[in-house]
Symmetry: C2
Subunit: 348 residues, 2 copies
């Protein structure tokens, strides 16, 4: 298979400034709230008065977070912004501006860089985000992508990790485990056309949809007391909420939402059951807590969402710890360990 990232027209021929010119040419002529975008020492943009600045950054490293043989430049561009949008969603903030750092190996085709930016800008436009700056550099061997996303929201309604209270219900949007299963699947496909269920899982991994509107609605209606996006695996992310809120939690294993595609294809890939659905990560769903008296409001709101929502457990006092219950009773805490790229590379 020809790797579409490689090619004869190479980056060093156009250089860094040539690359910047190509990016500028792809931007809309008018960017709202932007007074100075790409092409100066820094960008100038403004947020609405009374709104607070929300900022997040996400780093993706070739062969750690993605494999160029498995994804397209276009999808990688989309995803590099989507993972940041997911963080913004988990605050209930409105995304506004993005900056991007790219370290590019000289072997990468200029056309692939163009496709990357097209995907990035497509995702940006879908969420009202303006690309306002960046830096590009040569990289001797590996593609690095770091995206900073800036957003806004009133600090009184933004949702942090530290607001969960004992008695709150725990919810998760969408379904879990699809992304990791999609990645496993991609490694076995070897050029075969995917069937519909397979395509669904591949999309969940390579083209995730951040829950921006869902996060915004939960914050604006004051329903969520704590929120996080599920990127390292359900229990790793739940642990962050519990640590920051100084609470414990009970999760009911049989309630963990699994898609039809996951249920039908996971056994053949040796990854069936809720244990597989919560391991791994990159789900980019929202995990949040809400008071029980808001349950009907949460469910009413979620009926407007394509992704849906599931109540998977409840918040407990800190002395309770984090406990999973399945049909056989309580499950050991070794599953609580999240995904760690430092450790994962070592095991490969």
């Amino acid at each position: 298979m020809i790797n579409p990232w490689d090619g004869l027209v190479e980056l060093r021929e156009i250089g860094e400034f040539g690359l910047i010119a190509r990016i500028r040419n792809r931007l809309p002529a008018y960017l709202p709230r932007v007074f100075q975008g790409i092409g100066d020492d820094a960008a100038i943009a403004s947020l609405s008065p009374g709104n607070d600045l929300v900022s997040t950054v996400d780093l993706m490293v070739e062969e750690v977070h993605f494999n160029l043989a498995l994804t397209s430049a276009h999808l990688l561009g989309r995803k590099s912004l989507a993972v940041n949008l997911s963080d913004m969603a988990a605050m209930g903030a409105r995304p506004r501006f993005a900056l991007i750092s790219l370290a590019l190996p000289a072997r990468i085709r200029v056309e692939s860089v163009d496709e990357f930016y097209l995907g990035f800008l497509e995702m940006a436009e879908a969420h009202g985000v303006s690309l306002i700056g960046g830096d590009t550099s040569f990289s001797p061997d590996r593609l690095f992508i770091s995206v900073t996303l800036l957003g806004e929201g009133k600090k009184e309604i933004l949702v942090c990790r530290h607001g969960a209270r004992p008695g709150d219900d725990l919810y998760v949007t969408g379904t879990l485990g699809d992304s990791l299963l999609g990645l496993s699947l991609a490694r076995t496909l070897q050029g075969k056309s995917p069937l519909p269920d397979e395509k669904y899982l591949l999309e969940k991994h390579f083209n995730p949809i951040p829950r921006v509107q869902e996060g915004l609605a939960l914050a604006e209606k004051g329903l969520a007391t704590a929120m996080i996006d599920v990127s390292d695996g359900l229990f790793s992310d739940l642990r962050h909420i519990c640590e920051e809120s100084r609470v414990g939690a009970t999760v009911f294993a049989q309630r963990i939402p699994q898609s039809n595609a996951f249920q039908s294809l996971s056994p053949a890939l040796g990854r069936s059951g809720w244990q597989s659905a919560v391991r791994g990560g990159e789900d980019y769903e929202l995990l949040f807590s809400a008071p029980p008296q808001k349950a009907s409001e949460v469910m009413a709101l979620a009926r407007q969402w394509e992704c849906g929502v599931t109540c998977i457990g409840k918040v407990e006092p800190i002395s309770h710890g984090i406990i999973i219950r399945d049909e056989q009773g309580q499950v050991g805490p070794e599953l609580l360990k999240g995904f760690d790229h430092f450790a994962a590379w070592e095991q490969n």
Copy 2:
């Protein structure tokens, strides 16, 4: 020589969350204007009402922008923020918040990462900057640093590249060429203790001082019509001002400011004369234009600056092009080429 970056206590032992905990422990207990800093999906910070957001990002790749055998972790931490502060200075904006992406090879000692952050936070504190977020990842081979810096300023007084007008004087702060000479020197020292002049040049490369106060003052007093920081070499950066302002320029070679250390040590390193002072880059001085009727005001302001300022030429109509004049007359444009990491790696 033992490379202080390598060691037995390795990053994979503490993992990503252990690393984040170490960073959080080093931060001041109170960060002004920060409602939620490191430890959530995104940070929440606010700018003053009526002020505009200024944002910049800079990327540094191991063996492209720095060599771990030549610098210390502490100095690299300082410099990774200083290069961003220099961009902020070139807008005349006030730096406020930083986010950092680090991709770390497992071979790097945890202590080196700590030293890196100490240097970073030292530079941050000196300029009133709060570290509010970041992402860390494993990197299979190479250290990669991306820093986003957010600042504020009123858009009416911020200084872009596009405001230079024919007739304006061209100024540069400090001296040029020291940084590149310092790097050449570092490669020849091989463990010898540097003499005072040598130490001066090494500091200019490995521990540059961004001209933040100088840039702010020029903007606040409305003196500069266009401004840029000299990071790619004088003529490469001047070309950016000329392109964005649609003007030409004349630079008088004999006026290009050279330090005593540069003049005394450059001949032995084969890099004497103004041609060497303007080639290369990483000077992190400010290049700006100002109307001739403001000349005395500029010089009065600069008398308060330790770095000083030099008028090196003037802005011309676009038809004039960019011209350098030395004692022999006009100098060819091949010197106008800036530094390009894509091209430079190829030549190595």
